[in-house]
């Protein structure tokens, strides 16, 4: 966001903005952990975390008790637990990579946050996205940097020098590479649609959202949306595709030998990936901050309108996060051979056929219907 001509002031503003955005998304990711536990408890008909409390806040008449019952303070308790736990490092590990792996797991998703727009603002008569960095190749950057998160699991599994971790690492490598392909093929028709004649957009996240002004991609390109969603489940390692750490056969996969905060980093990276994945699906297929399908956005072009877009986008993302959690406690896990067959045998061919079909349809639509 360019607000002043003073370079240093602008740099300071950018840093503050980036810090706030990162803080908020980290907070959301933290509370997603809580949401997961709460959703699990509701689905399994038990109360879930409802004990952690802070003395004086709980004393506030109605709100205090309510916050305690929904487990609002659980996050602080969990974080403190991770910080103060003893941190054993097993002797048989490869020390350097053992320490490096949790960092490599967390850094890529944090970088990806920087290019995701979460709303718009109007400045000097122009619509501009609210994002830390509005880059020309936003979508490619998300896919490229997102794929680097894999090194965390692979290195962690190898460095732990343990059969279960090692198996987890191998599965992580195979699964993520397989589904990346389907994912990349599935977004291509979306990009073609966003790169309308006469515009320079396409791979830019903002142009993808603008191309779904009234017609969301989930309605207009349902097959792409389905393939992308399934691949997203596999890429984030969420349950039907929970091959990497499936606890019934691999203890906890690559993170088996990790304790305290190092384990916390792996765990947290997983939830940031979940938040980013939900936001990405919202941007690509659920119209981003556009109001409803077939209804033009009613946001007024001022500060209040910007707030509306951010709130609306956040609500959609929360809806997607809930969907992810809901699936985890609904579907059983696939077997490993089934995961591979779904990836290569169903998703990739489906995505290729879908790409060819839309590559033929979109020029016709551009020519005759506009």
């Amino acid at each position: 966001m360019l607000l002043t001509d003073n370079m240093w002031l602008q740099l300071l503003l950018d840093l503050v903005f980036a810090g706030v955005v990162l803080g908020v998304i980290m907070g959301i990711a933290g509370y997603t952990v809580l949401a997961e536990r709460k959703v699990a408890s509701w689905i399994q008909e038990r109360p879930g975390p409802n004990r952690a409390s802070i003395p004086f806040i709980v004393a506030i008449p109605v709100i205090g008790r309510f916050l305690q019952r929904i487990g609002f303070f659980q996050l602080i308790a969990d974080g403190a637990k991770f910080l103060f736990k003893e941190e054993p490092t097993p002797r048989h590990t490869h020390r350097f990579y053992y320490v490096l792996a949790p960092m490599l797991a967390l850094i890529p998703p944090v970088i990806v946050i920087s290019v995701l727009p979460f709303g718009v603002w109007w400045y000097e008569g122009q619509v501009r996205p609210l994002a830390i960095a509005n880059v020309d190749i936003g979508l490619l950057l998300v896919l490229a940097i997102g794929s680097l998160g894999l090194y965390g699991s692979v290195l962690g599994g190898w460095a732990s020098n343990n059969k279960f971790s090692y198996m987890g690492a191998i599965r992580a490598g195979a699964q993520l590479i397989s589904y990346e392909l389907a994912m990349g093929l599935a977004v291509l028709p979306v990009v073609i649609w966003a790169a309308m004649p006469g515009t320079t957009g396409g791979l830019n996240m903002m142009s993808i959202v603008e191309s779904q002004g009234t017609l969301w991609n989930v309605i207009w390109q349902p097959v792409a949306a389905l393939v992308f969603l399934v691949a997203l489940f596999a890429e984030t390692g969420r349950l039907p595709f929970d091959m990497v750490e499936s606890e019934t056969d691999l203890v906890s996969g690559p993170s088996t030998e990790y304790g305290a905060f190092k384990f916390g980093l792996f765990y947290f990276a997983e939830y940031i990936n979940l938040v980013i994945g939900s936001a990405l699906f919202t941007l690509l297929f659920l119209g981003g901050w556009n109001f409803l399908p077939f209804v033009p956005a009613p946001w007024p072009e001022n500060f209040f309108g910007s707030v509306c877009t951010v709130v609306w986008f956040t609500l959609k993302t929360f809806g997607m996060i809930f969907f992810f959690l809901w699936m985890r406690w609904t579907l059983p896990r696939f077997r490993y051979d089934q995961v591979m067959r779904i990836g290569w045998g169903m998703l990739v061919p489906l995505a290729v056929v879908n790409l060819i079909a839309y590559a033929l349809i979109i020029p016709l639509v551009d020519k005759f219907l506009k």
Partner: protein, 185 residues
């Protein structure tokens, strides 16, 4: 100024990691050094304002190729790797290739005076009918106009490599059916 510092930093990391890649004993460390080299090279592309190339470098090499290398090296027992003995012919070949690479370096250094304009400068030059520029669109246009032949040939080459893998890894029986590879006894 910042760009100069970044350039020297990234180049140093790229060259250092490339050296470590061939010198280090542990194959996994070698793979990680390759990763570091690739990421620094992507950074160098970024310094030239070629963002698309930088990201594709990361997407293809760091995101897929090095992962496959890691995948293979992880299967190798790194503790008892035999030392490779360099043969006489191998040594001669190494010296010759080193001299050839050295020649390229020297010729680059000699021609460094006649600097090649960066991409944005090419784009702002009105004599250029082709759209040189930083945007992805200009890459696409160049790829499908000026470099169409090279693009198609690369596609054929990749297809051949893919077919070669299928032919080498799958065994056909007498009826022309693909047999599942038999487990080793």
């Amino acid at each position: 100024m910042v760009n100069d510092i970044l350039f020297y930093l990234l180049s140093a990391v790229a060259v250092g990691a490339a050296l470590a890649l061939v010198c280090v004993r542990n194959p996994l460390t070698s793979a990680m050094c390759l990763l570091l080299t690739i990421v620094s090279a992507a950074g160098l592309f970024g310094l030239l304002d070629a963002w698309f190339l930088a990201i594709v470098q990361i997407l293809v090499y760091a995101g897929a190729v090095v992962v496959l290398f890691l995948f293979v090296t992880m299967m190798v027992d790194t503790d008892d790797m035999p030392r490779i003995k360099v043969s006489w012919a191998g040594g001669v070949a190494a010296v010759i290739s080193f001299l050839l690479v050295g020649t390229i370096f020297v010729s680059v250094i000699i021609h460094a005076g006649q600097s090649v304009p960066a991409l944005p400068e090419l784009g702002s030059n009105p004599e250029n009918t082709l759209a040189f520029g930083q945007t992805v669109k200009s890459y696409g246009q160049l790829l499908f106009t000026k470099y169409m032949l090279a693009f198609q040939l690369t596609g054929v080459l990749l297809l051949m490599a893919m077919l070669g893998v299928i032919v080498l890894s799958k065994r056909m029986n007498a009826e022309g059916r693909v047999e599942p590879s038999a487990p080793k006894k």
